[in-house]
Amino acid sequence: MSQVYRLSSGGRIDRSKVLNFTFNGQTYQGYAGDTLAAALLANGVDIVGRSFKYSRPRGIIAAGAEEPNAILQIGASEATQVPNVRATQQALYSGLVATSTNGWPSVNNDVMGIIGKVGGKMMPPGFYYKTFMYPQSFWMTYEKYIRKAAGLGRAPLQNDPDTYDYMNQHCDVLVVGAGPAGLAAALAAGRSGARVILADEQEEFGGSLLDSRESLDGKPATEWVSAAVNELKGMPEVTLLPRATVNGYHDHNFLTIHERLTDHLGDRAPIGQVRQRMHRVRAKRVVLATGAHERPLVYANNDVPGNMLAGAISVYVRRYGVAPGRKLVLSTNNDHAYRVALDWHDAGLQVVAIADARHNPRGSLVEEARAKGIRILTSSAVVESRGSKRVTGARVAAIDVKAHKVTSPGEWLDCDLIGSSGGYSPVVHLASHLGGKPVWREDILGFVPGDAPQKRVCVGGINGVFALGDSLADGFAGGALAAAEAGFKAPAVTVPKTLARQEEATVALFQVPHDKSTARAPKQFVDQQNDVTAAAIELATREGFESVEHVKRYTALGFGTDQGKLGNINGLAIAARSMGITIPEMGTTMFRPNYTPITFGAVAGRHCGHLFEPVRFTALHAWHVKNGAEFEDVGQWKRPWYFPRAGEDIHAAVARECKAVRDSVGLLDASTLGKIDIQGPDAREFLNRIYTNAWTKLDVGKARYGLMCKEDGMVFDDGVTACVGDNHFIMTTTTGGAARVLQWLEIYQQTEWPDLKVYFTSVTDHWATLTLSGPNSRKLLSEVSDIDLDKDAFPFMSWKEGLVGGVPARVFRISFTGELSYEVNIQANYAMGVLEKIVEAGKKYNLTPYGTETMHVLRAEKGFIIVGQDTDGSMTPDDLNMSWCVGRNKPFSWIGLRGMNREDCVRENRKQLVGLKPVDPTKWLPEGAQLVFDPKQPIPMDMVGHVTSSYAANSLGYSFAMGVVKGGLKRMGQRVYSPQADGSVIEAEICSSVFFDPKGERQNV
């Protein structure tokens, strides 16, 4: 027995294409053109999930984005799992696998449901907060189980095999929504020649026209839709995006559209196709034609499967050829629900009765229903439904809307389907994403978009314009206006003729009264996704939550994945009535992006895997790979960390590399250091203002180490700058600081000293830098270079131009290891050839490549700082014992001088950088470890500093560290202690931070 609820004819489905799918392990059949929800209903699947808090069985309510219950897990394999998909928006495809996201052991027999039934009274709003509050640390434990029981879908455990991407778009007019108003707006704007994007979240364009009884110019509505879509397709400047949800309205008319390109085709995207695409659209004008959502009425047990939105029933009947029941009872406060009765009646099904809250409805649709002999009960409403897993009856009683009272006991009507309609809520979500407050309109009993600075036009249902003819006219006018504002002129149009109808006003009814008080009546659900009842909202207001935002947070109203599309207005109305105020006095509800949930795939686009972040390689990277380097990430750079030989771990490799540099010669790729080419007549003056030390007397051919501070006097970068010509310098920066420093130079030049003629160019990537370091570096370099390397001709802290390996090079004689060193700079694209020549020549000197780890050890032995490791943005040059690098008498008050003279920066007892020598030379102080003077002091101890760099016993024969200690420079020889997590204490002696060659003789040979 399959598809027992499928009508024998009708619907926009292809009955020749049968599609098999599974839901909760059982196989069903549907047709091409179905949504998953339509196919489930066709197969008589009543229960699609269990509710969040009470675990009550829940069925499909709606037919679109507003669906709160049919939130399913989709995916035939682990890698293709997608959680929280609305069955009402998922097109059916062959092989679709869907499961409920909650319910244990199954949605039909759920253990929690029994607890929900008996425990309902014990689970008021705030239940979780109130119950699982103590001890506070246990919340994490509770939460895990609460979530498991509640069920919110799950992420896949394997990588998504599909591709997602982004597309940037610019257009004159973006039309959101392709219902009657949106299609009309797109036609008007498109005919003007403007570049138009029309996006709609559904499988096909047409919106409400796809299930409409109306005719346009005497023809069925769907014919007008086809004609309109065909005309738009023929316009070269118009882009049509079906299956594309405009999910965010961001600043300055930047909107994001989540397009599902292949979600309707199968579990995976076909080979070579992108699954989903995020369009990032900058629109000159936006037309919001997002329509309106029907609002359900709130009555007792309104969540039993078989309770639906009235309009959704028409959608299933007319668009999918599915009757979600046999015997229908309708409950309404407006005329529109009557067309549902007519659709149901036309399909040959039984309308048991229509309960209308109004006294004497006389609208055209009402009269039409009356003429067909349908039973209409006025001044009445469905006050309660009956049934456990499916509706079996509805109690219709007379009510007094104004007094909020039931005035007769009413009668139980046998039925299996209840459709309710409480009027329409304009879909104002996008209009309020940027903070625009919706405005209440009593005449339509709904919020419409308020004024906003965005360049947008709202047309149709979102404006409270519901009648088809009016909506079309509004759409044409809005589209033309938007095009005109974007600089185009739309030709005049004739709005298609529609049937003029007499309409009876809607009466304000949100929660239907019950014989018992709200607290004692069976549950009346407001937000089904979060199990928020009318009683819970009343309780929240009684407990003092008077602001609508507080009510929402306390009850969780509107906090589900549906953002309360169906529940928010009813909740607001109940809170307002409970407090004795009007709805606009109560407040309004705001929405944030995204309109409906989107996948992480669409958020990430191509930015995943190796494209997640750019990676930078030096010109010598291939050589490092070939020579077995292990790499370290330094910013975006891949730098060789160490070069292990067979059987070596990092310690053995680093020890060997250090020894080679100290004994003979090592080779380091220093290309990643930032290099900024500085030129201009005022370059020297500029350096004087930016660096802490003096640059006036640096001759051409010389280089100098410089410290840079911020205005607060704290060190923020360092490096060597060489004088190339009187108006020309090359500045080096730290690897990670290159971009920051360039921007720093630029901001001062452009905003403070625009009179200084000086220009900056980043040349980091233009030059490759090979550092030769060690006592044999001169001998080695002389074999591959024509430069005179004589110690007097080419002294320490100078640079020369010449050939290295036959290629023009700039060679800097500077040292970061304390050894005789040359930094060879070569145009990057020649660097590999030069490297190979140096390596060949270096064989007899045991030339050893070394990485950042050895570099760190060697520089620490010399007490050279690394900005960002030994400094943390709170240390002045004095704190670093680098007063020698501060030109206090320079004429211009350079950056940092005033800051470092502040009272707190000159006080005694600041933390100062010192060397630390563990008393037990085999002990290693962890970097970051806190230091104290008195290890016996009870906790909390007075912490007097911390370790910044630390290395195990190596060439020095003992472990050593650098760290900051309060007043450390005056405490040489004293002890500090570092209590460890395991209870042990490492004792260390405060010493000079220069551990090796304190006189600096080795670099000066």
């Binding site: 930047f254 625009p754 008050s893 005033r898 800051g899």
Partner: protein
């Protein structure tokens, strides 16, 4: 994402090409040594946090790398004007905003 008119490039470009650099029109004192610690602290650390018009310093970091100023409404995020360093803002009170839009400059910025 903001749409920012770079007064150097003469084009509207997306926010991702720019970086904000904080409040505009905070000149470095010409004689820092004449400042008290408190004055220097004010210069370094204290900034306005207005609801409404705010003059801000921006850099077209992934474009021309030039700094410029922008007058932005911190409530609506509208940028009412952008202008080069050294120029004075034209929009300094609520009243002038609609006027700029009216004379067409609002469209550009």
């Amino acid at each position: 994402m903001l749409h920012i008119f770079c007064p150097h490039c003469g084009e509207l470009r997306s926010e991702e090409e720019f970086h904000s650099a904080g409040q505009a029109h905070i000149p470095r004192p010409l004689d820092p040594n004449a400042c008290t610690d408190e004055q220097w602290g004010d210069y370094m650390f204290f900034r306005d946090n207005p609801r409404g018009l705010h003059h801000e310093l921006w850099i077209h970091a992934a474009g021309c790398r030039q700094y410029f100023n922008a007058t932005r409404d911190t409530v609506t995020y509208e940028i009412l004007e952008t202008y080069k360093i050294g120029a004075k803002p034209q929009v300094t009170g609520k009243s002038s905003a609609p006027q700029l839009v009216a004379n067409g400059q609002g469209e550009k910025v």
